[in-house]
Amino acid sequence: MCAGSTDAADRSINELIESLKRGELSAADVMAATLRRLDLTEPSVHAYAHVARDEAMAAARERDELSGRGGWAGPLHGIPIGVKDLFQTCDMPTEAGSKVLAGNRPTRDAEAVRRLRAAGAIVVGKTVTHEFSYGLNVPPTRNAWDHSRYPGGSSAGSGVAVAAGSAAGSVGTDSAGSVRTPAAVNGIVGLKPTYGSVSTEGVIPSCPSLDHVGPLARRVRDCALLFRVLSGSGPSDPDQPPPALEQPLLGTRLGVERRHFFDSGVEPAVAHAVEEALEVLRQLGASVVETAIPELELAAAVSSTIMVVEASRWHRALIRERRLDYHPATRLMLELGQLLPAVGYLEAQQARVIVRGAVRRAFQVDSLDAIVAPSAPVTAPPIERATELTGLVHHQCPANVTGQPSISVPCGFSEDGLPIGLQLIGRPFAERTILRIAAAYEDVTTWHGRRPPVAA
């Protein structure tokens, strides 16, 4: 698997759609290539908790029969998608990475899954998540680029499957960076949309006021397409043009908040890659301005306080009945949420208003279109250190606390070959703006073209 590969498992969603429309590939060809890649990579990366091999192949043949009759299932006709095992699926288990839900078989699809299927996508399987998406246990999934490294989380399988080519795109959830971290450390694109712009119905909640559903893919325009389907925004007719992402960045204003995002334990290789990316964005016409938002230092405390309380509410009955079936670290967090004073939770929500107001003022005063930052301060650490990664939350929780859209796009590699991500945080409901900036950057760089080794 390398740059320029002609394997369908390495192609972007938009490239696959073009090939399917032209009849150069059938949906069965695409699915067969995806399943071949899955067979090759799963023994070493463990991205999937459940694979619906026969069902996926049958669905691909159905798509081909439909297109053979002149029909078309939708904008994602025949595209193989991985779904985080936190989304309810009517035809596969939904176990949330936990013994607590072992054998759980929902009767309905989550709204996001329903939308993907209605658009013609085919669910390859359920991708591995940290237990209930809390990021506290160590799942079997490994980084696509180095199997001794952290795969990101909690949408670990969703990130690794897309990087490895065992899905063309995927969906995950992001409550404190769980879409953007796997995207960054696996060298792909991950979008956390504005709070509320994609339905979380039928998704097992992590902490409802911080939870977001978002897509992961190998290219920015693929994420744009998946977002369009998931959010229901814009035309869904496949003959309609894709979002206009090719506009130049002249007049675009990008803010850099150094204190929070650059002066806080950022590895030199990451800092260098992001500074280089800023220079590329300048060359594309963007203005880069320094901005100061000291209130961001509250974001991690706000996030953790809200998370433990909201999490423990959903698990309150389950933890009494199934306490020993939870991973000990997850159990401890849920117990902690039951002990924290209600006043502390309310004060965290009030402090959240302060953070949100400060970020809003910075966007207004500096006329910003986006804030640019490292997606993560480090490249993927060894798997043994996976539970010590508070720095990742530090960089990513601000957009969950404020509800703003945020995207991670590949912007380089460390000397030891590990991917680095660039984070763009946009104005609320301005996904199109950050997608446009990310696509402009992607168009003039080559990081997205590198693919990880296929097998160990």
Binding site: E335, G344, Q350, A351
Partner: protein, 60 residues
């Protein structure tokens, strides 16, 4: 610092059923989390209203 015995008593009083094996670590975690909460107390917090605190959506 929260004493482990406080955790035991709270668990008993509230019927939480927290196992003894979790008590020491939970005392440490709760102490750390309460340090976060004390930071909030020192802020000039906005009025508490449902609209302000729970509607995290921004205007379109």
């Amino acid at each position: 610092m929260i004493e482990p015995d406080c955790i035991r008593r709270m668990s008993d009083a509230l019927g939480l059923g927290i196992p003894d094996s979790d008590v020491d670590r939970l005392a440490a975690e709760l102490s750390a989390q309460l340090d976060h909460v004390r930071r909030f107390e020192r802020l000039d917090l906005p009025d508490l209203s449902q609209e302000v605190c729970f509607d995290v959506r921004w205007e379109h």
